[in-house]
């Protein structure tokens, strides 16, 4: 039952991310602007390819596992690099320190991906651990979460004096929740691996990851492909944001 729940949750999370990722890329085709390209590609690489490859590698034979480990390393790292660039571009594009942070994140992730590739090819045994990459990924999610939730706070204050957009306020909150959940999920798995917990068979890890995945799927859709009834509900609640 638990395995079934985990499988369904992971499936829903991956499917939602692919749908939103493709939707954002379609938007980029129309607008030519970079944020939709960066975020759309990030979702497809990290959740559409990297995450499933990471899971599949743990159940595959040695040859296939090595290929999957290399694939997951490349896609997770490149996706995280895109998230660094997205956060800089959207929230801090005029700030020199943010440009430096994004640049450093991209360089570190590229270097780490290269090292992981070399490491995977030069050992007979498949190396599943990726602490360096996961740490950089957590930093990317942490920065994105911070900026998004900061903007949520700013939008709430605007609502109090009648200058805010309640749907926009809600969107910043949803993206902040999504990035925070991503951070929590990666942190949970990183700590579990560090403590030598078998994450494939541990009930707490599986349930925790599943719940996080379902929340992520939900907030992602509500943020970037909100159904009409949800928008109507948000627009009827301006006082809730103003309090």
């Amino acid at each position: 039952m638990q395995q079934l729940f985990a499988t369904v949750a992971v499936g829903v999370f991956i499917l939602a991310s692919i749908v939103i990722g493709l939707r954002l890329l379609h938007l980029h085709r129309r607008t030519g602007d970079s944020p939709e390209l960066l975020l759309g590609l990030m979702l497809l690489l990290v959740v559409g390819v990297g995450y499933p490859a990471t899971i599949a590698a743990q159940f595959a034979g040695p040859g296939t596992a090595r290929a999957l480990v290399i694939t997951s390393g490349l896609t997770l790292n490149s996706g995280s690099a895109l998230l660094f660039l997205f956060t800089w571009r959207v929230f801090r594009h005029e700030e020199a320190w943010a440009r430096s942070l994004a640049g450093a994140g991209v360089v570190a992730l590229c270097a780490q991906a290269g090292w992981r590739w070399f490491d995977a090819l030069s050992h007979d045994e498949v190396q599943f651990e990726n602490q360096g990459g996961l740490l950089l990924m957590m930093l990317a999610f942490l920065w994105a979460a911070w900026e998004s939730l900061r903007h949520y706070g700013m939008m709430r204050r605007r609502m109090r004096i009648g200058l805010g957009d309640v749907v926009l306020c809600d969107r910043f909150m949803l993206f902040g929740v999504w990035t925070s959940c991503s951070l929590a999920g990666v942190l949970m798995n990183t700590v579990a691996v560090w403590m030598h917990i078998d994450i494939r068979n541990n009930a707490w890890i599986q349930v925790g990851s599943s719940l996080i995945g379902l929340v992520q799927a939900g907030v992602l859709v509500l943020a970037f492909a909100p159904p009409r009834f949800y928008l109507d509900w948000v627009r009827e609640r301006p006082r809730a944001f103003a309090s």
Binding site: E94, I161, F224, A225
Partner: protein
């Protein structure tokens, strides 16, 4: 990144219309903007006008500025007719577009 033209105009007017020094005037308006969820770098004339009307009077009263309402009216007049400078895209504009609006 420099502060917006509207912010500079509001600060200058406040400094000239009250007993506040230049740093005090800038700090007061900056605090009012922050309370309203805005930043000095991107504050447009419309935003400044709303903040001056709704939040600045209380800030000036707490700083014992004489006749804060009159001071705020002068700042509002100084902001009238100012146009927003062309600014780079804000996070709000990006998120509005990403949500399909």
């Amino acid at each position: 990144m420099a502060d917006s033209t509207a912010f500079e105009a509001a600060c200058l007017c406040l400094e000239n219309s009250s007993s506040l020094t230049k740093p005090e005037a800038r700090g007061t308006i900056r605090i009012a903007l922050k309370e309203a969820g805005f930043e000095a770098k991107t504050a447009t004339p419309k935003v400044l006008a709303a903040v001056v009307q709704r939040l600045l009077p209380d800030e000036l009263r707490s700083r014992r500025v004489a006749d804060p309402d009159a001071v705020c009216r002068k700042i509002a007049v100084a902001l009238e007719g100012m146009t927003s400078e062309s600014a780079s895209e804000t996070a709000e504009a990006v998120f509005k577009r990403l949500g399909g609006e």
